[in-house]
Assembly symmetry: C2
């Protein structure tokens, strides 16, 4: 490492004043530091591209706003190339959280071992934070049960397309909300959603009512924004909203602040519960949930959709594309081919 | 009744286009109909004045918007003057829901008997829907426990001033949010709130942080609006918001609709739960709750604040005053003196 191994990475070049665009990203090469006793150096194979990155660029959200010059955060999967004495063996495959970079130096304790013999992209989707978010949101927060009607926004996204299938596995009637007819076709034809509604349609409210004639029991929401209020008005008494994301607000959240004007009255009138959560809340259950999800993927009951872009240079474009409505499934960027899978 | 007993009442003269003002109310006299077998005629002693009335005048909220010519809705307490064969005895004191009128003709099954020997105003406050709302909101929805920090907005209002005392009875640290220093003084000096913060102060956020240095566990919210977001940012992980009202939104709710832009991200980041409810959700527990509240009032542990205006003609002014920040406790209008209390 003393030969100054260099790592390419993407940082935020400046704080966006409004919308994020390509000029807010800067690519740079930095030397990889020698790991301390508690650190591990990971050569990344894949990094994730998720709405979370844009949220933290645009304001104080799930963490304090990113500062100029800071790494764009993301999940990572890669191979250990060096580690302090407390770390994993060189050559081990691991998953963790760092950012858009070739080499990540992270606390060894923050890494999960890649133990399932599946293609590595699964560790950034169904077996990663998004799959766990989908699983815990449907099972623990939404407490979905057989026969319920579950509606999901952002249903074609990295979390939504898995959450819908988890709800279906529990015996719910599953209705997706998406932003294009192409996405609707994919969810219905390939993933077995009972119905899919396009939120950009002028007949959205009626379309949702037709798809959910008995009302909505659980709304798994990745979008927030005005869509939330519209769905609330079709919810059954004592229904639940699982707030998993708020993509509609990441770009405009500082502009309007009415403290939920449009949603509180229907929340009261229908005795609804809205609950936010983070996947970390359920950390003790991650191994069990990962095993279940792996089983479903292996059996073919759960289909994982992924958009894998090639090359670190594509990451900013891939992120911006998330918000223009073209992506289906989990978006990620590949930096190098999957290494061979070996078990200790 | 065939002599055409007349009843004075207040109706909505026209739908308000923006804010409600005096011109949206009209007083009229109508004949009192003969009750059917299932109906009871109540000569009202008191009618309540609550934000709910303004909400239903201004839009579809807890029910469909009031139409021009319809009675302003309210809780009532009065004496039975006539009833169908299935109804209560003439002379019985009853509490129910109808509106601002001298005589109400209502389904007999909707009336509760006045059984506690207390002044009748109690049946529109602590022993009425607002007292029950306070009780169930704190105990069942908020699930407040000893040692928690509970913050209440609209803390000097009909629901809030009782809810704060219920939380204190459960061993919580209780912090009120009010709109004037006068209200703050009353809550702290007379009702034993641990702290009271004025939301109109320029130092509100710091004041709340000083009052709740360990963060907020439960927020009992009667106001919604931008205040909600500000409190959310001081809540502890996995805290609960009990949505009991949304007075800040009744006047402007149709103007801004961002589906909770400002609140969803903090709800997720802090794993918060927000739950709306109606007192009707807990109807089976009303008798038990009323007994507890009566006990606390009798023992002096719970102090009830009431503003009783004299004469039906004062009702619209009393309602508009609710939103200008002068009221403390439950507002109501007296139509006649309390009749003597008799037990069957």
């Amino acid at each position: 490492m003393t030969n100054a191994l260099m790592s390419n990475r993407w940082v935020m070049s400046e704080r966006p004043d409004g919308s994020v665009s390509a000029r807010h990203f800067r690519r740079e090469a930095v030397p990889v530091p020698i790991p301390t006793r508690e650190q591990t150096v990971v050569r990344n194979v894949l990094v994730s591209v998720a709405p979370h990155a844009r949220a933290v660029m645009q304001g104080d959200t799930y963490r304090l706003q990113l500062r100029a010059g800071e790494l764009i955060p993301s999940s990572i999967v890669g191979e250990v190339v060096a580690a302090g004495s407390a770390g994993p063996a060189v050559g081990t495959l691991v998953a963790g959280f760092s950012g858009w970079e070739e080499y990540s130096v992270v606390p060894s304790s923050s890494l999960r071992a890649v133990t399932m013999p599946v293609p590595l992209p699964n560790y950034l989707s169904v077996l990663g934070l998004n799959g766990l978010t989908a699983y815990f949101g449907i099972t623990m927060v939404g407490a979905v049960t057989v026969g319920q009607t579950v509606v999901l926004s952002g249903a074609a996204g990295g979390v939504g397309h898995i959450a819908g299938q988890v709800a279906r596995m529990l015996g719910a009637r599953v209705i997706g909300i998406v932003s294009s007819d192409h996405k609707a076709d994919v969810l219905q034809a390939r993933l077995g959603f009972d119905a899919v509604v396009n939120r950009t349609s002028t007949t959205f409210d009626e379309d949702l009512r037709t798809a959910a004639p008995d009302g909505v029991d659980v709304y798994f929401d990745n979008v927030a924004g005005p869509l939330l209020r519209r769905v609330l008005h079709q919810m059954n008494k004592q229904g639940r909203v699982v707030s998993s994301g708020a993509t509609a607000t990441y770009d405009v959240r500082d502009r309007v602040d009415d403290g939920g004007n449009g949603i509180i009255v229907p929340m009261i009138a229908r005795s609804l519960r809205l609950e936010g959560f983070l996947v970390a809340d359920f950390a003790e259950h991650w191994p069990a949930a990962t095993a279940v999800l792996h089983e479903w993927v292996t059996s073919g009951d759960l289909i994982v959709l992924q958009a894998v872009h090639e090359g670190l240079e594509t990451a900013p474009t891939a992120l911006l594309d998330l918000f223009t409505g073209v992506n289906v499934g989990q978006t990620m960027v590949r930096l190098r081919p999957d290494p061979p899978f070996t078990v200790d």
